[in-house]
């Protein structure tokens, strides 16, 4: 966040306030990343205890969202930020909303992993979820890195990987449908697995949003609902 020159305001207190918000967002990002990682591990390794812990810990993510929101509100009301400061506050408010939703998806992974831990193996599901999970986990990590480093290039390249995630999700959907046809008795478990795949796919979408806010924050350009070709030609 050095590019934002957060330490160069005439008001030292304003510097501290923005620095405090920045640090809390990074902390929230780290926590969410950890929740997704643990949720995925719990799911893939059938670790119900870990899944349960992930589900329990979601409140920490929620609490951070509320705390950061309040601090942003205070800055808006008392500092009337402009230009990059305003974009930072707006981007933070948006980013933490996505982070909180990613936290909810991680909680789902945790909850479903508790249910699935007691079940018999369903052929192929672990391997296939693992691939999607790894794609999504690395995408989230890179989106958060791009935010921390204000790296527009990395943000755009990371967002582009959502196509891979979507492709993988569709493949997985077809596979799960096949399992369902082959063994209709597994319907309940297969639905849960489908929900997990859906949760992972949504985490990919939220990661794209975070990348878009990085571009907005650094360049002042809103690239939401813009084609990747257009974004690439303009920024890369």
């Amino acid at each position: 966040m050095d590019k934002l020159h957060l330490d160069q305001h005439i008001s030292q207190r304003f510097n501290q306030e923005l620095e405090g918000i920045r640090n809390k967002v990074l902390k929230m990002g780290g926590l969410v990343e950890q929740q997704v990682g643990s949720g995925l591990t719990a799911l893939l390794e059938g670790d119900g205890d870990l899944g349960s812990l992930v589900a329990q810990n979601d409140f920490e993510v929620n609490a951070l969202e509320v705390e950061i929101d309040e601090e942003c509100l205070q800055v808006l009301a008392r500092r009337q930020p402009a230009a990059s400061d305003l974009r930072l506050i707006v981007a933070v408010i948006k980013v933490i909303t996505d982070l909180e939703r990613i936290g909810d998806e991680a909680e789902k992974l945790g909850r479903f992993s508790v249910d699935l831990a007691a079940s018999d193996e369903i052929p192929g599901y672990r391997r296939d979820l693992r691939h999607l999970g790894e794609l999504v986990r690395s995408m989230l990590g890179d989106a958060l890195d791009a935010f921390a480093r204000l790296d527009v290039d990395a943000a755009i390249r990371t967002a582009a990987r959502d196509e891979d995630v979507n492709r993988e999700y569709e493949t997985l959907e077809r596979l799960l449908a096949t399992h369902l046809v082959e063994d209709p008795r597994q319907v309940s478990k297969l639905f849960k697995i489908t929900w997990c795949a859906r949760a992972l796919e949504r985490i990919g979408d939220h990661s794209v949003n975070i990348c878009e806010y990085v571009v907005y924050l650094v360049k002042g350009r809103d690239i939401r609902h813009t084609s990747f070709d257009q974004i690439r030609s303009e920024f890369l």
Binding site: Q8, H9, I10, S11, Q80, A82, A83, L86, K219
Partner: protein
Amino acid sequence: MSTTADDILGRPRHLDRPVKDDAHDAFESLTETVGTVTVPNPKMRTEHVDVFYGTKQAIYDVSLDIANNEVIAMIGPSGCGKSTFLRCLNRMNDTIPSCVVTGSMSLDGVDLYGEELDPVLLRARVGMVFQKPNPFAKSIYDNVAYGPRIHGLAANRAELDDIVVDSLKKAGLHDEVKDRLDAPGTSLSGGQQQRLCIARSIAVDPEVILMDEPCSALDPIATARIEELIDELRRNYAIAIVTHSMQQAARVSQRTAYFHLGKLVEVGDTREVFTNPTHELTENYITGRFG
């Protein structure tokens, strides 16, 4: 490079250079204003304007158009030349003997400093509202009627009454003073006095209104009224406002011009300037950073 006072006086150029600071390099490298300084069909056009107070140069090569039906806000730190520039637009600086203005300034294509333009008539066409309300020591009525009287704008008392009432209405003051038009202008509150001054400048049917920090002496309620008024006046006039309040500039203007140490750094759509300014100096100023 345009002609400077030193050139006119046959002396080597002597410019008071700014003190070196963190943003000095950015300032030094500033040769052209960022953004579009011109507008189609400008009401006023200024090109390559330099202003000197004696040997001290206050404005460096500023070009800027003022458009019809638009509020342009001029912002910048103290001593950046924004008020000096504003005052040049209706030749208020003529009253300062050491002040020399070079470059070109025009109103509807007519040179402001040319032979054919009488400064008194110019100031009727380009009105000005100052920082501190300055009503004359006369009644409310006479304050507003003063301009139309000296410019012979009313054929009789009834016409003058119409002008006074109309101007007070446009300034949003009529309802508050209609029953006491004979009361002294100075008996009004600060906000009312400022609206009286606006009514006074409107009374001579100007085309441009210049405002030099019109709300700095007013409370937030009076300020909000004046800002509302500025927005209404925009329908009929071109308005240029100098303000130290960036929130005010952001609220009332459609274009914003940022001045720094006598140079016009950036001009742009107000929406863009306050969310994504182009120049580092503008960014530093509006976000309250060093530089």
